[in-house]
């Protein structure tokens, strides 16, 4: 069965195509589909078109209605996408497993009564469409095949694929569409928004991530992490335990419910290594762990494990990095 159109639901991130969309477009190009297209909703959608095109979208279905920023996004987006799917009948719609991606895909599956696979890591399309997911802290790999119902919906964890521009990219055709907004969705409005800004590279993009967990003992010690991260031109990350405790903002959380990072070096300080944390960082090229408990599970995946006090080691690390930089 030949694969028809594959669509990528492209989110916007501060006026640009979100990296997840570019990753998915890159993967979609190699599935042998009849067409690879993107769908992009939001007031700044037009700004993302060129980049979506460079990554392989030949058509961008676009809706720049302000409602997508003024209302809770998931409902209107799912309704608008459902109308487009009914009209164009893609075989497969790919989503990044972000908050918005889940909000839209979950609703769309229910609306169209089609299957959806979450937490995807890879996808193959041959006689059937098969999605790979990982369970139990990525210790087991599961392959799940879609039946015949179309479209098939799948969500992929960020960083499952590396984004790359298409060598033969063309400037995409832009199809402007009307937003479809049911009354129930007008009842949920955005009344405030705040963006955490941190100096230095973004957590998802940083080459070095220095993360802290409950073993840092006190929220004020996060300052030490920040100093070390700055010296390394890296970013600070956190375990959920310390995010829940209010020591660090959620935007720094690494793991299953937080960000997935794939830095060159990941340094886990006072983090036990629960599987919900490690799924978000096990893709790092090198992992360093500092933990006072020699039995901590994090040591099972560390390239370098230091059994000791995280604060002591971090202070020495800071001082040594400072003296190297003169």
């Amino acid at each position: 069965m030949a694969l028809g159109s594959v669509w990528v639901f492209a989110e916007l991130n501060q006026g640009r195509a979100a990296s997840g969309a570019l990753e998915l477009l890159t993967r979609a190009r190699s599935l042998g589909a009849a067409a690879v297209e993107a769908v992009c909703f939001g007031p700044e959608a037009a700004d993302a078109v060129a980049e979506l095109g460079r990554h392989g979208a030949t058509t961008v279905h676009l809706c720049a209605d302000r409602a997508f920023a003024e209302l809770l996004f998931g409902g209107p987006a799912a309704d608008t996408l459902a109308a487009l799917v009914a009209e164009h009948r893609p075989d497969l719609v790919l989503f990044a497993a972000t908050h918005a991606g889940r909000d839209v895909a979950g609703r769309l599956a229910a609306k169209l009564d089609v299957p959806v696979i979450a937490n995807g890591l890879d996808i193959e399309a041959g006689d059937a469409i098969t999605v790979t997911t990982a369970i139990f802290g990525a210790t087991q790999v599961v392959r799940t095949e879609f039946g015949a119902r179309r479209p098939a919906l799948a969500l992929f964890r960020p960083k499952s694929f590396a984004a790359a521009e298409a060598p033969d990219a063309i400037s995409p055709r832009v199809v402007e569409v009307q937003a479809v907004i049911r009354d129930c969705h007008r009842r949920a409005t955005v009344v405030g928004r705040s963006v955490e800004t941190a100096a230095g590279p973004k957590l998802e993009d940083a080459e070095v991530v220095v993360s802290g967990g409950r073993g840092l003992q006190d929220p004020s010690n996060f300052e030490l992490l920040r100093e070390v991260a700055t010296l390394l031109h890296g970013a600070v990350g956190a375990s959920r335990a310390v995010v829940d405790a209010g020591w660090a903002p959620y935007s720094l959380q690494v793991g299953q419910t937080g960000k997935t990072v794939k830095p060159t070096v990941y340094i886990a300080c006072g983090i036990s290594g629960a599987m919900q944390h490690t799924v978000g960082m096990r893709g790092a090229q090198k992992i360093v762990a500092i933990n006072k408990d020699p039995q901590a599970p994090i040591f099972k995946l560390a390239d370098l494990g230091i059994v000791g006090d995280a604060l002591t080691v971090l202070r020495q690390l800071r001082d040594e990095l400072r003296s190297r930089q003169g």
Partner: protein, 258 residues
């Protein structure tokens, strides 16, 4: 305020999970099943809403007979009554089937707010709340880290990848709460004793008017294989005797990041 909280029975998250080699389903016999710790935040959020605005908390679960234990814990915390949808055919249900069953059970009575966790500890698809909201025809305010109400609408702070968003949502709606949204209470002894006499309803999908739900292939997807992942190999573990930081510097230099 009529609040419904969805609660799930999951294998104790502190034990290591395993799939059955032939059925490809979670082996629930290996770990003691418990109320999903994530759902305790949902129960607490629901109790706080009714404590402030009156009404009651109803808990709904889909699962095996043992899921009554999860409901009972929520009743012991203070929920008023519970319903369990149970049927052998539901084993291995996907997210959409789960949402259909929960929606049918919830929609039998009027509701103002439906609360779930953002994701279950064992399945973690993180899409049941949204599918449920779609089937109920209401908004889904997901990833809530704060929920307050004036009795007619909810003001929800929700986590976003880059920060946070404040949503004003009219009722009815679905809210999925994150861990950390509140501090769940422990059931009191009186609560535990009282739970035994609270109404507990048990029904099948057919009784809810759902004829054709079922897990596995009927849901449009089939597990074709489960294999061990490539393990990351542990490297060197050393005790810090003053040179830990220096070893890290050498690794950083080797990786060419300094």
């Amino acid at each position: 305020m009529n609040v419904v909280v969805c609660v799930k029975l999951v294998p104790d998250p502190d034990s290591v999970g395993q799939l059955d080699a032939t059925t490809h389903r979670l082996r629930r016999d290996l770990a003691e099943p418990v109320l999903d710790p994530g759902d305790e935040f949902g129960v607490e959020a629901g109790l706080r809403l009714v404590e402030a605005h009156g009404g009651e908390v109803r808990v709904v679960s889909m699962g095996p007979e043992r899921a009554l234990d999860a409901i009972r814990k929520a009743l012991a915390m203070g929920a008023a009554r519970g319903v369990l949808v149970t049927d052998d055919g539901l084993g291995g249900s996907d997210a959409l089937t789960t949402a259909k069953v929960l929606a049918a059970a919830i929609g039998r009575e009027p509701f103002d707010v439906v609360i779930t966790a953002t994701e279950s500890t064992d399945g973690y698809t993180g899409i049941v709340p949204q599918a449920l909201a779609e089937l109920l025809g209401v908004p889904a305010v997901t990833f809530a880290s704060g929920v307050v109400s004036d009795g007619t609408a909810l003001t929800v702070t929700r986590q976003t990848e880059s920060g946070s968003e404040t949503i004003l949502a009219g009722l009815p709606c679905v809210v999925s709460v994150t861990a950390g949204v509140n501090e769940p209470r422990y059931p009191s002894l009186r609560g535990i004793m009282g739970a035994k006499s609270k109404p507990m309803d048990r029904c099948t999908p057919v009784e809810l008017g759902l004829e054709a739900v079922g897990g596995g292939a009927a849901a449009g997807q089939t597990v074709v294989s489960v294999t061990a992942a490539d393990e990351r190999r542990a490297g060197e573990v050393v005790t810090d005797d003053g040179d830990g930081a220096h070893r890290i510097v050498l690794l950083l230099a080797g990786a060419r990041v300094i």
